[in-house]
């Protein structure tokens, strides 16, 4: 195989295989995605605001926004299932805190190691959940308050926050006739 054809094949891959993505969902789906995400993020934020303000703890986490996309925007996706949601966040948080504690002298390295290792670990444990990468990264780039939590970050907020979203997803995603959640638990 000549070099030219290898390069040509390589470049052809960049053209994609599919004319456009999946079709746009119906209006009812959009409305239920909105309602689910509103209640889910609202619940986490409300609890955070009413019970944890003034403490060293926090429930709200940027990566929960991404989890809400999966849980309420693509509830059928394997990435959005309970095992992935909880496992992905918890394992990634663990990796993130460890990366910060071991490599904080080189922040860029700690960040890269945290996200890359989180992905690898989620793959190996079949818990791949994209927001987990953000949870790992936040453990490194987070505020002094986050860093001060140490490994408590794994439980609060990185496990408790997703758990609240899970409860809301179970309640809301099973209301519409056209939805059900989860596809599998474990």
């Amino acid at each position: 195989m000549s070099l030219a054809s290898v390069v040509a094949d390589y470049l052809r891959k960049m053209g994609g295989t599919t004319p456009g993505g999946p079709p746009r969902v119906g209006r009812e789906e959009v409305i239920w995605s909105w309602i689910g995400a509103f209640i889910g993020i609202g619940a986490v934020g409300w609890l955070d605001q009413h019970f944890l303000t003034g403490t060293d703890l926090t429930l709200m986490l940027g990566s929960l926004g991404a989890s809400a996309v999966l849980l309420f925007g693509t509830p059928r996706s394997p990435l959005a299932q309970p095992r992935n949601l909880i496992g992905g966040h918890a394992l990634s948080a663990l990796v993130g805190v460890a990366s910060w504690q071991l490599l904080q002298a080189e922040p860029w390295l700690a960040q890269a190691v945290a996200v890359a290792t989180a992905i690898a670990l989620m793959h190996l444990t079949r818990t791949l959940h994209p927001p987990g990468g953000a949870t790992a990264l936040i453990a490194v780039i987070g505020s002094a308050q986050i860093h001060a939590l140490g490994f408590l970050y794994v439980l609060i907020p990185a496990t408790l926050g997703p758990l609240i979203l899970l409860v809301v997803a179970l309640v809301v995603n099973n209301i519409p006739r056209t939805r059900r959640y989860p596809e599998f638990w474990y």
Partner: protein
Amino acid sequence: MASMTTNSTTATEDAAPDADAVPELELADADILDAMRHIPGYLDITTADFRIIYHLAHAHAVARLFHGLTAGRLMRTGITGLPPATPLGAAARSFVEQGVKTLPVIDPDGRVLGVLTETDVLRQLGAASFLELLLQLLDGDGTLGDRGQDTATSAMMTTPAVTVTEHAGLREIMTAFRRHAGRGMPVVDAQGRCSGLLLRKDFLTACHLDESQ
């Protein structure tokens, strides 16, 4: 890749189908997108990935459903073949006694020399079908007795016979039945000896998965 497969199939339409004896539909993007529109909710899968999964799953399902569907399992045993010297009259009696319309012609070692069908016998008697023979008899044609009742089987048989081995699976059997018009064919063992007769109707019944389950 998909279009290449289609082209090569068209170009060599007489060649034995080596890959897809069980026809597999080539799904267009439009087909998959239409199906996705029937499913409420966002499916995070591309049409290309769906097609790959479909092809692999189809191949797996075919392998699962037709596993163990071999000529050796479907064939009828206890069939007595015809020695090549058998005269027409005795051969015809053998068809009637065994209730089949095809019989293997075998040498003393059991090897398949050819195949004799009812049609071969009828042709020797000067008719293309039983109905034609019947009409000739009704018309008072008295020449039937003079039409080579003593003709040896070896002079009437089709040779070489299309056979399958005991291990032949779905694809090989389909290919073999496509190569000749008979209702049955001899099944041979590794040494080429006749071990049974595979009837087309038995094969089709086995392929009819809906009813067998």
